[in-house]
Amino acid sequence: MSVVNDAPSSGSLDVLGRLPDRNDEERDERQGTKGLGRVLRLVGPPFLVFVLFIGVWYVLRAVLLNDSQRFLVPAPHDIVSVAFLDWDNLHPLLDALWLSARVALYGLAISIVLGISLAVLMSQAKWVERSMYPYAVALQTVPILALTPLIGQFFDFNFRSRVIVCVIISLFPIIANTLFGLLSADQGHHDLFRLHGANRWTRLWKLQFPGALPAIFTGLRISAGLSVIGAIVGDFFFRRGDPGLGVLITNYQSRLQSEQMYGALIFAILLGVVTFWVFGLIGKKVVGNWADSAT
């Protein structure tokens, strides 16, 4: 007996005798199968929304604002020419972007290590979870503004303090999602591992942790976005030191340099989108093959 003779639930064998991958089929249906068509379907819809958004921007600016207000909402082409095409303006923006990106990445890296470690600890015993989780929630909800003098006092008002703010803001989703993932391992799986003499570390490493990866990546994507917010907000609080995007935004705002301010805003958004997207991509590479819904 060497043939697989019961029909697979998701379709019949194809010409090569392979089982069709359900997700591939769905993906193909949604995005088209090859080349230009695929690229067009991938990029087309968001591009269309972008064009619509810019159009609405121009219209609202013309209709709702009178001449004295218009400086508040510069025309998109002015933003591009002033903030991005003029090197004297672009240069500080790029420096600030680089600084904020570093703050966000350091903060995120620390959050990942710390968050996953804490979640692993909490997953090992209910009492650890009960005693630590409330404080993780508290950390998430504490008004950071109140902590800034303290953080600044101990860690200076520069890079390190901003990273700390970043960690405070981006830590919780990683803890919550990792813990959820670790605790969702099926009881039947635990039984199976126990039957074959696996201790809790083996179960953690071979059962709970791999099973938690989809949830962990969900947390990572949320925290990736938050870490960028953390980097900008950190700037607002610690106005000393090298300027990041947050410092530039407040400066341009007070000097009524709207084009540059929107330029900084756009950089901040792009940074957030790119980190979110990168983690989505890594997640897809790591768990896309087997997880029910590719993250």
Binding site: D6, D21, H196, K206
Partner: protein, 263 residues
């Protein structure tokens, strides 16, 4: 051919003429859960080497609890179980495959947990995969498999450890009738070929009669053994056995006792 006597009066009979000590023995097993529900009450029987015993009974009568007790996952309130825990294979109701491992990775899992060297476990996994008819699907993930194929993978995973006793907890309850019969045919073939003993839980009478050397009928909760039927058909049994009059007659007798069990 059939007897319907209280289990306590049954001698530890086996239909196979083996003089070896039983591979699995239940003696006066009772189980009461902490919430007060009594799952099984004074259950005693043996599974001899090379014997395939099936327990049928109404849902929730504590059949599965027996397997959990045999494997040590649940501790019985009273009575003793004799079995070599290292010689046990346990096939759960769900395939319990690890989603992130391919068929090969899943089949290798138990050998890996027991520290079998990589090359050896690769070799054993491959022969188990061939044995259950999953050749060619080694690199697939569970979500790409049908229900029947997942069950085969689960079976292969246990086969790798070459257990002397297999515990089957309604393994084919979730697959359709045709697939179930096919899997029964193959389990039959494996049983004849690999010489393990089996303790099989099901609520399908035809499955019970087709597979077993002996069928035990259990009562509704708290579970007691109500009847015992020796199944005389020689192995290997052919699929068409299911349509023979003798098969129908025996199934009918089991069914009658099972009706009583439902009360």
């Amino acid at each position: 051919m059939s007897t319907t006597v209280p289990s306590s009066e049954l001698p530890p009979t086996t239909s196979t003429t083996s003089t070896d000590p039983p591979t699995l023995a239940f003696r006066g097993i009772s189980m009461t859960f902490p919430d007060g529900t009594q799952a099984v009450d004074d259950v005693s029987f043996d599974v001899a080497p090379g014997e395939f015993v099936t327990v049928v009974g109404p849902s929730g009568c504590g059949k599965s609890t027996l397997l959990r007790i045999a494997s040590g996952l649940t501790k019985q309130t009273r009575g003793t179980v004799t079995v070599d825990p290292n010689a046990l294979g346990y096939v759960f109701q769900d395939p319990t495959l690890l989603q992130w491992r391919t068929v090969r990775g899943n089949v290798e899992l138990l050998a890996e947990l027991h520290g079998v060297p990589k090359a050896e476990r690769r070799r054993r996994a491959q022969s188990a995969i061939d044995l259950v008819g999953l050749s060619g699907a080694e690199a697939k993930y569970p979500k790409q498999l049908s229900g029947g194929m997942r069950m085969r993978a689960s079976l292969a995973r246990s086969l790798v450890m070459q257990p002397k006793v297999f515990l089957f907890d309604e393994p084919f309850a979730a697959v359709d009738e045709i697939t179930r019969e096919r899997l029964n045919d193959e389990l039959m073939r494996l049983f004849a070929q690999e010489h393990f003993a089996g303790l099989f839980i099901t609520h399908s009478i035809s499955e019970a009669v087709f597979l077993s050397t002996r069928v035990l009928v259990m009562s509704a909760r708290p579970g007691r053994i109500l009847g015992e039927f020796a199944v005389p058909f020689p192995y290997p049994r052919v699929p068409d056995l299911r349509f023979e009059p003798v098969f129908a007659e025996l199934s009918g007798q089991v069914s009658h006792v099972l009706r009583e069990a439902h009360g």
